[in-house]
Symmetry: T
Subunit: 140 residues, 12 copies
């Protein structure tokens, strides 16, 4: 089973930026830990601040992978193009957010990504990624 986690803009600053909202762990450490916790899964990771690069990656993996876990960051609320990319590939995606986006500014309440994903998980910190992974492992 191969799964890719795709992170959007500014998530490379995790552990460095706005710690009150996003916590203190760097994503790399978390990813290593996650990978070792699920040895049976072929887990990949991609981060970019560029909308185009994210779309390219969705196209690249979207016809062969078993699942996409996507945290599109701020693109969640502005990118119809990423929405169309997810809708256009065959692999199903799960949307995750570290913070509870419904507790933040109004313009972060709307997700263009959610309607084309299988489901959405928001607010559990980095655990959101693990829950998405759990879902892919147990779905029938």
């Amino acid at each position: 089973m191969n799964i890719i986690i795709i992170n959007g803009p500014n998530l490379n600053l995790l552990g460095k930026r706005e710690k009150g909202i996003y916590g203190e762990t760097k994503f790399d450490s978390f990813f290593a830990e996650l990978k070792s916790g699920y040895p049976a899964v072929d887990l990949h990771y991609f981060q970019s601040n560029s909308e185009g690069a994210i779309i390219d990656k969705i196209h690249e993996t979207g016809f062969s992978f078993d699942g996409i876990i996507i945290n599109a960051g701020a693109f969640t609320h502005t990118s119809l193009a990423i929405r169309d990319a997810i809708a256009g590939v065959e692999t199903q995606a799960v949307e995750v957010h570290i913070s509870n986006i419904f507790q933040r500014e109004t313009f972060r309440h709307l997700s263009y990504i959610a309607p084309v994903c299988l489901g959405s998980i928001s607010g559990f910190g980095l655990e959101s990624y693990r829950l998405a992974l759990e879902y892919f492992l147990h779905k029938k």
Copy 2:
């Protein structure tokens, strides 16, 4: 660890109603299976079609339980009173939805409940409940 699942209006029709959206399993069967899968958790279940009864149950469990998993059904989008109940108790709540509410009518996109919950899980069928339970079991 004691956890309560609170289901809102019409969820007693599960397995009987709008199967295209909600699936064919009755909640009772699912709950029994879930309970037996997590023997270490003292898992409770409550369903009501009445907003007042749901608020009463939140008050009753909200100062002694370790977690509330709430699917407020249609009250999600109309009940400020349930929102205030969750905000007013000490136990943390996780919001779940069976269907992906962002794929449905516009008036189901807004959740009054989400901002006062720890996090929100939507779209994974009955698996949404299990993921919420997973979260309570692993959170630190």
Copy 3:
């Protein structure tokens, strides 16, 4: 043929309240007269000020009755849960209103109930109920 009339909040005050809008007849007198006018129909009547009780009654009758005539009163404009209840049962419903809701405050122009009913009849006083009954008797 068994039909149930379900009346929502404050309709128990009929004949007592805001007579300019709702007229002077009590619903009980009207119902007795209606019942005796249609002896072939097994006509039932239920009124409650509680949203939950109305949903329970829809569930109870919605898989065995031949028709539901519903005047959800003020819940017409606020209750997604009653809407979901009607959508979730098998019996078809007809929405009625005593007053012409389009002549009243703007927030009474929107009905959450109408889209899940077969049809809607508004503004004919208590005659609205009789017209709904006529419909069920003549539909093919």
Copy 4:
């Protein structure tokens, strides 16, 4: 008792157009049947695709007839002038719609006609006309 049915634009296509929404019966057949079912009523029928012709007809009949049954079709949602015509004559009007307009596009939910009519009947197919006629026959 003389009653006129006034049909607005495109209703001449009935039985020919969008049968999924409007059914297969031509209005002429239905009208003949209706007329013969109510021999005591002097029942008239007028259809036009022109807003001005409809207003003229309302003026012409609106001071001598006992009732107007109007299905203004798409003009329901755009014509203030027909609204003013109905408000300006003495005969009372009842609004009817074949389809349940609340199940269709949002711009069909608003009726400029409804607030100046006595009542509104929507969603019962051609039966909507008969229910309106029933109302005029039984009103006191």
Copy 5:
């Protein structure tokens, strides 16, 4: 003179819940104190988390009491049915709020209750109830 105070959802948590907003006094203690301060008034108290129960109580007292003091809590902003109940009875009502609702979330700025009450008092903590009582005692 008989007056009833009707409290809506979650106000039973007073003194226990969100103390920064609502203060530390339990309503029971306050009510006892209020009652003893106004021995000439036959002062009643009712609280419920259920909209239906509140409507029932308004109907029950609304034709015999001299005044209703209502803090509908979160129902203030969502319940047309309570609004209709107040409009439908004879006893006049005064709306009170403990917190200044205009300093809180936007969705708490709109009151469906205020337009059918005689007046509205908001922001004075539990003193809001006493001011309402003062009004009933001194009005001519």
Copy 6:
């Protein structure tokens, strides 16, 4: 100097319809009186309930007359086509209204006609027409 008064839908009912708003004088009597009061002006009058006929008349007079006085009635608020007709001819138009449209329903506050007219006169009863005529007589 030749001037035409163009009246829109339902203004033929003047003196017959909604007298509280529009007064008791028939337009014909008023027009005769106006004509005799301004013998030097070649004054014409046209009324139609049809948008198309009004546009045709604007085209017909709009390249040779010295002024158009238009009361488009309910078309004021819905007809972009009349707006375009006025904008497309050479003769300048003045918009008049009998009632003060700003004291009526909100949907009568917006005029599509006003922005393409030279000016607008509203609320002076039939005097509005005379004031418009006065303007054309004195403008330089």
Copy 7:
């Protein structure tokens, strides 16, 4: 017959400011000319850039004058207090505007003043004032 013209903010700059919109004549010259053209009228003039001073003047003249002609300038669109002043006095007012406010920015389309005036005249340059005066002279 005594009539007062009240001009609001910036109208003292007339003939000096934005000549493309307001023309080249100073209001003083126009007023002198107007006064001499209507010797039978006791015509007064007041201009202020202060909302309070305009309200004071409306109070001062509003119980003894035969008419108020008001061009509230930019206060037209922002001052509820001037609206209340006009509604609160006995003398009737006519609203005038030099430019056609419906051809300008959207925020100039709404007038708080118009609904409490007898009528409104807009777009005829300084002639707007004369037409208003004509009205007062001829009204019955």
Copy 8:
């Protein structure tokens, strides 16, 4: 204890203007009566139709008085500057309204003043002022 009542525009017309809404008593008579009813309070009164004068008075009293009772009249709904003045001084203010502003035009439902006041009292006629005074006398 020194308290100032500040009244905004048009409140000098009280007892003279729109008596259906505001009653028949002049404020001066009411104030005299109020003063004599509370001999222990050093009660002041200020009215102005000018926003600037009201702000000046708030600045003048807002660092030495024990309370401000403000009825900003129509400025309630338009003046951010008065809001800022109240927010900028040390003395706490209570907002009062004679009429129930929630029963009036929509544009009177929003108060810019309420969020910076301690509380708000609306709808009790001139009693609203006395209730505000009561509050200042009893607050701890």
Copy 9:
């Protein structure tokens, strides 16, 4: 192959009206030229300022022609009835506009016609018609 071009209101003024927007060519000259350029097509032309006449023409041609090219002019933005006419016939329609409607007033950006047409061509002057014709000739 028979194709009809249907032009809406004011398009008879082409070459005469607002030349900055619509150009200097009369439609008749253009049509003659177009017809002679496509001798194999049986090309018809109809223009009316009346909504009803346009609907009649759509009904008349809509079950036998091979294509409708419609420029509904100002009716594009206001006529649901023309929309329903196109949706109700069998012949497919292509919407054309001479000017780029997206560069004009906001109320011209919305087309009620576009969603029921096969496609839309806007902004190419009279060439828009020729491109539509090209489409019908080459479609498979």
Copy 10:
């Protein structure tokens, strides 16, 4: 004559993605066919999922090419920067869409690109590109 076709995000998936909406042909095949059909035109093609790359290409070609045919895909509705790029270069652009964007989700109805293009062609499948090319070939 040199013309460039610029395709935005996800259009590289054509023939692979959402075939119900976009058809089954790959763009490369279509482009080859188009090129061979118009040997006199020097036809170029560029596709990118990156907004920045598209802007760079517009800058690069926008001062030397004879025409730009742009299908900005989902960027149509979100990219002010592409709009500014087109507005900032000398070459004129024509907007094309494969599907009829007015039949899709509301957020696809608004085009930021259309107002700065010469014209817009939408809904003709891949034929939309050919029609745009036709336009450039025949414009004078």
Copy 11:
């Protein structure tokens, strides 16, 4: 070179009011310092809480001064009259704000003043004034 700084309502409280937002310096001290830092400039200062007085001052200086630096305070968001005053004079104005108005309440994000000023400077504390002065000194 003569420049005037015009400060609007409540700015006289600077250094006394809401120090978290506006800082601790009184404007007088700052002005003295500024004046001595730019001996070559004839620098004036005017503050008023009255909209009318500010307009008068703009008229007084607006035809002879070399620049106006205006911080209209809360009038920024409500005063069309000050906007018109600035648009009506010849001297160019620069808008300044002490705080970053875009970080504050939504109703402070809209400036009626900005569109008629040459430019706008917001968020630099009292430095905003100095930057505006710098601009006037260096502009060509």
Copy 12:
């Protein structure tokens, strides 16, 4: 002191594009001049049409530079991701615009960037950059 100027999309066309709005100077010439005018500052410059590249540059400089001067061009109004990048780094940013964005299309009035910047300077042409630089040099 090291400061970076970051310019967004299309600003590379400066001096070439829409000169009426942006002026005739190329940014390179301006930058050279600016650099030589402030020899004490280590001034950097970066321009990109790609959102991702701008975010990368903010990350790269945002923990070591003394200031960021950012003109995000059209991204100002659409990019939450750039907003988050600025909010996520330590270096403070100042927003600049060449044109007065409040005089342009409505969709350019909203800045997502402004609320996370220290301050905003708009409308002074290229001088806007110099004023921002002045600010960094003088701030304490």
